[in-house]
Subunit: 307 residues, 2 copies
């Protein structure tokens, strides 16, 4: 297949960030970024914001966007596509955004959802990262772990998203650290994944030798009784929550299957270490360019040829 | 045994509350309360505060206090007694508090702790409530559930505390409600324990049909996809956390054994409902006077006779 070599514009627009690239086929010629995420914008400000960041670039190139910009709280909703769905269909399901001033096509990728009443779940943005991994190929199969505030575990078979689960682990860690009684017992810095307390936390969670809700209070009790230091407490808490997640997230994955771990988040190294502690092998994918690569893959599905 | 009929003073002094009673033997003749908890006091302010609230009462009656006033952050630390420990020994282990002006004896009850490295845990205040239940009697045995921000499950055999576990359930519910992404999806009022979503939450947690960290995110996803209303979401979240707690807290309790549920907290009715949903019977104990009754029981152990 001849690849599309047109000029176009890729946009990654989330709740707090905005990144935009001037593209020629699969090559990024120029990039810009800003902090104008959804949280800082009213609905009528999206188009002027995009226009401002397109300044000086070719005026006719179409735009493909991904992220929360396509949510109900964004510029224009691109409704979720429901499981099972191929990543190619997500790409070609991009929604046309209504514009007032801009004299060019603007598309936004939809999110993916599971509407089964027993396991409702949503993603928006991760589908683009998976396209960036190459998982939209009709030959691609695997289990993908995308760490983040809300970590996703996604089962893809032959380019089709079949099932996924979201874990609130990252957010729970963050609010326990900031708002709970444990906050006085936890080091302020980064988690040390090499600390023995991290490994202890992972194994406690993975075999559930202590229930989660009890483990949490014991972080406090350990400080009072055993003088465990804040660095160890922080490592234990992080490991304990990750172990809890891995206990269920890995239970239906064959021991021999490598997990596709998406990098880019500072959490990735914690996931890599925790997975290694529970005897799982990973393929680590660099995450820095994944959204742009995903937008490029989506672009090729959407505009499959030019000549 | 002839009971002690002396005049004395009972004090329940926690992080945010202060209650004091003028006692004659086991009778409360007069009570006062104030909001001068630990959080509002410097160390040197405890004695003047107590003195102020003793105003007009007999000047020689000894004082027995319970609660966080005996913690390291309180007036004077009454170090934890370690498991296994009889509740009678907790009572007679009351520590003499050093005073400057007050010309009377002032005692504070110690807390109880488990120092095993695999299950460190602490309580301070609950030992007094258990004394109020009568659990200090050498004939008393049972499993006691004391709901609260940090719920305690305590195994007592023949008046001796043998084992206990603390669950962070109440605090976790509160911080998820205030600080997590779920906050927009949750009703602001009280939990409706009769709502079908509460029962669904309890059963989901009790059999762990969905992992906790996934259940939490699904509260959000349910709002987005299934239009589940905030009242149902709140009931589900509360039930889900309680079900998680009960799954482990009840696993080593014989099905035929009634659980001794301590009332007084607004959480008690939620625990009663959740326990009933998982097929457990309870003896519900009124909690309003439990601390005063516990101080009275402790007093009788401490000053066993007067004539």
């Amino acid at each position: 297949m001849m690849e599309n070599q047109q000029d176009w514009v890729a946009v990654d627009w989330g709740t707090t960030h905005f990144r935009i690239w001037r593209m020629h086929g699969d090559k990024a010629l120029e990039g810009r970024e800003a902090s104008c995420g959804l949280l800082s914008l009213k609905r009528e400000e999206f188009e002027p914001t995009l226009k401002e960041h397109l300044h000086g670039w070719p005026t006719e190139s179409p735009v493909l966007m991904s992220g929360m910009v396509g949510s109900r709280q964004g510029w224009q909703e691109a409704p979720y596509l429901f499981l099972p769905v191929s990543l190619k269909d997500v790409a070609i399901g991009a929604v046309d955004v209504q514009t007032k001033d801009l004299q060019r096509k603007v598309h936004v990728l939809p999110g993916v959802a599971c509407q089964e009443e027993s396991r409702p779940d949503v993603m928006r943005g991760e589908e683009t990262q998976m396209l960036g991994l190459g998982a939209g190929s009709a030959e691609w199969s695997g289990m993908i772990c995308l760490p983040g505030t809300h970590c996703k575990w996604v089962k893809v078979a032959l380019g089709q998203v079949q099932q996924f689960d979201t874990y609130l682990t990252g957010e729970l860690f963050s609010i326990l650290r900031q708002h709970s009684i444990l906050r006085h017992d936890l080091e302020a810095g980064d988690v040390d994944a090499e600390h023995p307390a991290f490994a202890k936390g992972v194994s406690t969670g993975f075999v559930e030798s202590t229930p989660l809700l009890t483990s949490l209070f014991r972080v406090r009790a350990s400080s009072l009784l055993l003088d465990r230091d804040p660095v160890a407490n922080l490592a234990f808490l992080s490991g304990r929550l990750l172990g809890e997640e891995l206990r269920s997230a890995t239970q239906n994955i064959e021991k021999t299957e490598k997990i596709q771990l998406v990098g880019g988040s500072s959490l990735t190294k914690l996931y890599a270490r925790a997975l290694s502690l529970v005897g799982r092998e990973v393929d680590l994918h660099s995450g820095d360019d994944l959204v742009r690569l995903g937008l490029t893959a989506a672009w090729q599905f959407l505009y499959p040829q030019t000549e």
